[in-house]
Point group: D2
């Protein structure tokens, strides 16, 4: 077990006549991720709604803010129970055997135009043995072919752009890896959390985007940008791509300040809790929810 403590501070200046926010900064409730402790503070006297999407287990916070400053503070302590597997024991699943919940993730989406990447994916990865190793080869290809560089992309940048321009941030790495997987009919989805373990050279602790791929009987984690340590990822949301799981979707005239985020792995006196580290096994925090009859 890994115990992670995190805190997020978001600050905005809301213009007239107010603004609507949909946040996805609550830790998801899953079989492998238990929220031990959680608190939310909002600087304005608003009535927030927190609701859970049944299909993804994502938890959303929605609120209507008044003009003026808005500050949202979220704090949580979360326990992660990782499923580990030997990479060579984790197979790809033929389309005919995919559970329906995974089937949705082989289709193209806004930022992952897998319908256009069939030829590239087949040329680069078509001849590799199927399984976890092939997906890791996709991850490694993306990591070695794309340069990580801040402020080179924007909210319209897609996997096709990244394949051409070869530069971007974690979100762009994730989109390209997802699109390449789907082009081979391997279900892949976009996941969000915090960049636990990232090199401070890259900047202050920030939100992070990574990838989950359905292999065997569950979703395995991949971090194509390679900037953080997957064992420390607390999951906020999963979706087809960044369009589904923004940390904050904002409606109205709002100025946004940089988030302040802290994350740490806790230790118990007995030393039983693990510390996140890079490890060679396949790592999952999400079994398939629905078995196919």
């Amino acid at each position: 077990m890994v115990r992670i403590e995190l805190s997020i501070e978001l600050r905005y200046d809301v213009g007239m006549p107010g603004g609507d926010f949909v946040f996805n900064i609550h830790c998801a409730h899953t079989a492998s991720q238990t929220v031990h402790q959680e608190s939310l503070q909002i600087s304005q006297a608003v009535t927030p709604q927190v609701f859970t999407d049944e299909a993804t287990r994502n938890r959303y916070l929605r609120l209507h803010a008044f003009p003026g400053p808005l500050q949202v503070n979220y704090h949580a302590v979360v326990d992660l129970h990782h499923h580990l597997a030997q990479p060579d024991q984790v197979p790809e699943v033929p389309v005919s055997n995919l559970p329906p919940e995974a089937l949705n993730y082989i289709y193209p989406s806004r930022y992952c135009q897998s319908d256009r990447l069939g030829a590239v994916a087949m040329a680069e990865f078509g001849a590799l043995p199927q399984g976890y190793g092939r997906v890791k080869a996709i991850q490694d290809w993306v990591r070695s072919h794309v340069q990580f560089k801040q402020n080179t992309t924007n909210s319209t940048t897609s996997a096709v752009d990244t394949l051409v321009d070869r530069v971007g941030v974690c979100r762009d790495f994730a989109h390209l890896m997802i699109a390449l997987c789907r082009a081979l009919s391997i279900p892949a989805r976009f996941a969000t959390g915090i960049d636990y373990g990232a090199d401070p050279v890259l900047g202050p602790t920030d939100f992070h985007a990574y990838v989950e791929v359905f292999l065997g009987d569950r979703w395995y984690m991949f971090d194509p940008s390679g900037t953080a340590v997957p064992m420390g990822f607390v999951r906020f949301g999963t979706g087809r791509d960044a369009a589904d799981v923004s940390f904050a979707t904002i409606f109205g005239s709002v100025l946004t300040q940089a988030p302040r985020i802290q994350v740490a792995a806790l230790s118990d006196p007995a030393g039983l809790w693990e510390q996140p580290r890079h490890r060679p096994e396949a790592i999952s925090t999400d079994a398939a929810m629905v078995a196919l009859a």
Copy 2:
């Protein structure tokens, strides 16, 4: 009530070593759409799976076919109970009040890049009174600015393309209308059925794509290509765009023949069943499923 009888015949030549199919040609089970009678015939001795997506109520048929000819015949008789409303009584819903199930449909998707259409949408429709009338204005704008022409677009064509190229088929009209609605934070989704009432000049009876927009407390139907009669639409599937609800997604080396489709509205001796016709009211076959607490 409208009673529709439909039959669909799909024929393929499946190459080596066989192919996987995911069909979405089963009529959805909804509160307003009752499947009175239904049958499915498959020419190969395969074991099809039929499963329902909980979030959308779409019913999918999946099968693994052997090399050789494959024929799928689906026949259904369906009762439609339309909700009608006066257009001027149907309001837009502020983001803060949208039910979560609708919230998913304000984000961009593969073929509906609403994130790029904010300026166009605001310039053309931003000053119009909110409500059903504004959405109808969007529909009419798309219909009058895009030319309906077969074989001008393909499976990669998106709303941005259609905004530029101004030509396409029903699917393209739907994508552009959806993207424009979402650019104004109006939830809109892609719906599929059969082009009931289409002019035979456009070709034989075919599958059809149209739009549902969340207004008031339910999803209202719009037919931006204007080629068919919405009251006769039996719904197969809804999704973010065509990526979610293809009639047939095919994996493998497969030759496809043109579908043979028949659709008719039935009459009862007492003359109580309605015949589909163009009508001025707002029409819905789908109330919101989940009310927000």
Copy 3:
């Protein structure tokens, strides 16, 4: 006659192992534009080459700079002899009568994909009477449909992007107007100069991009962004689009500082020289160079 004095100061920090520059900041020599006085200063002891492209009359300055600071100062006094015409006397020219030099400017180019804009151009302008007035209608349409906003676009932004996103700077306005003209087989080219007369609110005096369209027997000036006064435009270069006539094309690792530019219209004691002003006539500074036999 209008006499313009201008000075340009460009400053760079050239990295190892040096850099190559191609500038297009020399005033073109044309029948209507006479360079009265001109000087060039370069802070490094390099041997610059200045050459003239025969087809466009553009003058290019090329130099190889050493690592370290580089400063280029150009100063000129230029006389402009404007040809004025009544708009209703300026016809479009059928393709069969275009001089070959104009024919090159009806084809699509990097940033002006006129091959995709035929439908939009026909829908918006196809029914208008041909002639200068139709081209002005295109200019006015671009000006009213696109928002001028700094830092919204970059060096890859094209006319198709601007048609979709509806925002940009002078270069983007020019590209969209050019593409729409070419889509109607009206020759249009990209021209560069200085934004004489621009509102200081938009920032310090800067380079400017505008449009020349072939009508009647010559190229007429249009300023689709509407931010400056065409009578004050000294022409540096013309080309198919910004790819042809950058002020500076830089090869190597070079940091660029903002240019310092001054431009003024001079007056003579006798008051014979005109002062640039907005005027209703069609304005040209370039007759066709080559008459078709």
Copy 4:
């Protein structure tokens, strides 16, 4: 010397009220290509104009056709004098030494968006030794990464599309190779001719697109699609890309039939004329026209 005889038959049905045509099917007059004999027949009683673009030496035929059938027959016998060089003796030319005529061909164009391909080009070819061999490596990369397949692309397909989709015809191979060269500041241009020596399996003899790259002191030929024999290429036109040198640009409502083309290498009794064949040397038919002072 190689002597080539070729004939081209183009047939159209011109709709009301007639149409304009600009053809580029005349063999260029260059130092290395001598037109021994030439004839042109046009089925309508029109007055064609033939003019030469000074910058490119391309010869254009323009005519205005009446409604009804139009047939254009062109026949020529052409002598080609190839310049051959040892590949390892053919260097790249630094930007500072490029003749101005070549400088135009390092900028992006409609179908060759070299401004976006810098990262791919540097990653794939940046570490290779400069010279003919590096350009050949680009050609070979394109040939091995793109699949030749008829009817997969259209008139809007660009180098960026081909890099993503990895499929196309000779024109698409040429555009991608050109864009990759320019991304490395190597001048490259689009050239048109006839696919001499093409495998009949690919279809009847057709027009062909290939590439010329400026190396050393002249333009060398490359055939990235690898479908024909460069020594047999009679040059019609060169330009930045296909936008500049279409075989036929048509204005109006015109139906086009497939061209009928014949091409053959002639032999003299003494056996002195060469027969085109694949050969290992670098081949050029065009020295630089303008030397830089």
